[in-house]
Amino acid sequence: MSWLMVSVLIAGAYGFKVLGVFGLAGHRTGRVANRMAALTALIPAALFAALIVVQTLGSDQSISVDARLGGLLASVVAVSRRAPFVVVVVVAMAATATLRAVAG
């Protein structure tokens, strides 16, 4: 990730925050504003799900099932038991590393 891209991200992320604070997003009420709010609220669900899939199954431009899937299942179990964020991550890493060591 180049410095140019880091700068673009910094400017963009701050731009959205400023937009909201100065009321440009809030004062425009009505159907358009509601639609935008509905769209934006759903983006994390769609993107996080896509990130999970891509990071677990993707390898370059193909789909491969490997030790990462074991890590994913472990993280789902940890989350369903209300484990804290770091525990979820560490459990997934441990499961994947163990599977790799055993298989490899």
Binding site: M1, M5, A13, A46, V54, P84, V86, A92
Partner: protein, 215 residues
Amino acid sequence: MLAVAVGIVGVTFGVLADAAGLSLAKVVAMSALVFTGASQFAAVSVIDGGGSGAAAVGSAMLLAARNALYGPVVARGLPRSTAGRLLGAQFVIDETTAMSSVQDNPDDAGDAFWWTGLWLWSFWVIGSVGGALVGSVLGEPETWGLDAAFPAAFVALIMPHLRSSPGRFAALGGAGLAIVAIPFTPAGVPLLVAATAVIPVSIIATRATGNGVRP
């Protein structure tokens, strides 16, 4: 308590950013100046997967857009001056909005906003630096299963968004589109394709309730 938890998540970000090849300076720049966790995780995750900088920034921006919706919620606690608002804007994220919104009057809302913002920002930056330093001594990421840390982090992050049925449909649609797009598009692009899943879901949800979905 919240700040310590955020600091630990910051450590995770630092480790993963290091694994994705970001220099310490870039990690600090991102945590201090981008300061919106989900976007940062998404960006380094795309880079780690071999995606282009543009694809990384694209996914991160889509996630950062929701901070624009928080502005009106925290505005009552912010100073009237332009400079004060410009400074406060940097702290407008999920957590500060949540803490500010539960206060009874504008003064308390302002206090909650600034203190939460300052504490979280400090711990987030310190945690990220610590993580990047830890990451640099870890060595080969695969041995530690570090590549499994990315999806696990997103499993934890997605949970609150699955409580509503539009959220669940958006997640299913996003995952489905991503799988279909992997073989046909360069790394990072499947995420942008997946984001389009929110359009039909939000149209249906808006029709069903008449006023859309609240975060």
